[in-house]
Amino acid sequence: MATIIKEEKLSSIEQFNCNSCGNGLEVFNPRAKYISCQYCGSVLDTKSEQHEILMSMSPPTEHQPMSFIKVGLLANFFDKKYQVIARTRWQQDYYEYWSEEGETGYSRELWIYDEWLMISEQRTYFYLVEDKDGYYISEEIVPDNPSLPNESSHWSFMKNQRPQIINEYGSASVIYFEGESNYQIKLNDLIQFASYKHKNTIYTAEWRINELNNQIKEIEFFKEDKISKKEIIQAFENNEELDGLRRKGEIWQWLTYGAFASAILFFVLMFTSFGGTKQVFTQTFNFAELNDSALFKSKPIQLDETGLYCIELRGGIEVTNSEAFVLAYFLNNEDEVINHLDGDFSVYSGFDSDGYWTESTEEADKLVKVKETGTYHAKLMLDREDAVTGSVTLNIFSGVVLTRYYVIGWLIFLLLGFIFRSSMKKYF
């Protein structure tokens, strides 16, 4: 759709300073009678010598454009050069058709959209409509079978179209405008509208009511075709202003890619970490060997690598409805305690209204950071009732990684990716 050629901006027919804020204003359309200052929101008379202020609107900062498009930018559409000369912001209060699980109806909605007025070198126009869902090129058409919607929920005004469901109807009013206008746009200017969709095109009828006699004053028919954001970027590519925005967009784009790539990396690491451990030591102690008055020393534990190790105690109680407490110290070859681990092991069972139940606690573990290689050992102590028999196994695993950090990293980068992507979409 768009052809990119480096071109100059259109020649303005008049330049003057805003009577309110002093910023420079340019008029491009010879027919323009009014101009709304894009810096302060004052509406000025373009035709009078003094360019009197006719009205003032709320500051433009309250009605920022939804994307990079702004008054003054150049664009190439339909192989022609256009310039953005005005924007009208509309607020719709309307009913939208819905259909769900066999039921249908209309729900009341509020919606905001911008209507950008584009003027060509030949002083022809078209409207580019922008809302949060994207962009549409709006074109006034002459209907084959003109009508306004009636009580029916179906309607069409073009040949070769069966009546379609009216997907939106309601009113729209002007809440802000900037740039040039041939007629004096007034805040709260109200139009009624109804639209239906046929294939990928939206067909709309708009009509204005004459406030004096409450009769319809004018009816216009439009068709709107969606245009992709990529095509919009291509159409506006010729603007220096867009270069800066594009650079910012590219920064956000790379941040987005980086964040998502990191998220993927953390996700992969998280999975690979599950199978990366290796058992380097195991020893089982019968309860008979242990007691609470003396520490029982394990066999030497040879650790040839520094890093994280997982110390695990697995308790095996042979008597139901009993419990045992095991305390294990982890010591270096100088008999210094560098960490400890305890486990409360138990086995309980019984009957209740749901039948037989059993409950046990058989495992306790802890991560230990080993800073030096060498020979280590453990010392264990047991506290139990005499009748409680069983054993406890001490296992030590190397290659342990902190999986939870991978999960946290994955979540953080995923979240950052979406935040960056949202910022990027403001530019692309």
Binding site: I13, P30, R31, K33, I119, S120, Q122, R123, T124, Y125, E140, V142, P143, D144, N145, P146, S147, L148, K159, N182, Y183, W207, Q215, I216, K217, E218, I219, E220, F221
Partner: protein, 206 residues
């Protein structure tokens, strides 16, 4: 057509005004903007001089161009002012058959209007926008899309009827079967014409 060409002297400024079409009833002086009515061999002033501002239209009086393969000459221009602005109507003749037509230029939109042969006299006040009316035998179900009371701001070149700048005229526009039907109710005459929109790309300059 050149056989009927002749020159007049503007009754206001004395400038020479050329008339190409013997049927033209109004002439606009290109020097002072005075509109004059042709009566026999002389001109009589109608209204006060008003040089129409050129708003950068592609068209101009005297130019020859081609629209959809048909060459035409622009003979005159009529400017109508209404509540929300104004529009221009370019009076043209197709060179292949001398048929008269109008090009309406309004806010960058263009419609080629060709005169219809008959019309039904309608009461401007009774017409409601959004209603269906019979405008002529050929267009009996016209859906009215707008009506406005407007002022003839002035003319330029040759026009086929006697205009007086400042005159009030009623305009009704409607649609039937993909065509724009326009009715102009002037103080002394009513015109109905049938239009089809076109884009400037369809016009080539000769």
């Amino acid at each position: 057509m050149a056989l009927f060409a002749r020159e007049f002297e503007c009754p206001s400024c004395g400038g020479r005004i050329k008339r190409e079409n013997a049927a033209s009833k109004s002439l606009g002086c290109p020097y002072c903007g005075q509109t004059s009515h042709v009566s026999g061999d002389s001109l009589s002033m109608a209204g006060t001089p008003n040089l129409l501002i050129d708003y950068g239209s592609m068209f101009s009086v005297g130019m020859v161009a081609t629209l959809r393969g048909r060459r035409f000459r622009v003979s005159g221009k009529l400017r109508i002012a209404y509540e929300d602005g104004f529009w221009d109507e370019w009076y043209i003749q197709f060179l292949d058959n001398n048929q008269d037509a109008w090009i309406q230029e309004d806010d960058g939109g263009f419609i080629l209007f060709e005169p219809a042969t008959d019309y039904e006299r309608l009461s401007f006040h009774d017409i409601k926008v959004g209603g269906y009316y019979s405008f002529s035998n050929a267009y009996q179900q016209v859906f009215v899309t707008s009506k406005s009371r407007a002022k003839v701001e002035g003319g330029e070149g040759e026009l086929p009827f006697a205009i007086i700048p400042g005159d009030i005229a009623d305009f009704v526009e409607g649609v039937e079967d993909g065509k724009v039907i326009s009715m102009e109710i002037l103080p002394k005459e009513t015109h109905i014409s049938v239009g089809t929109p076109f884009k400037l790309d369809e016009v080539s300059l000769n």
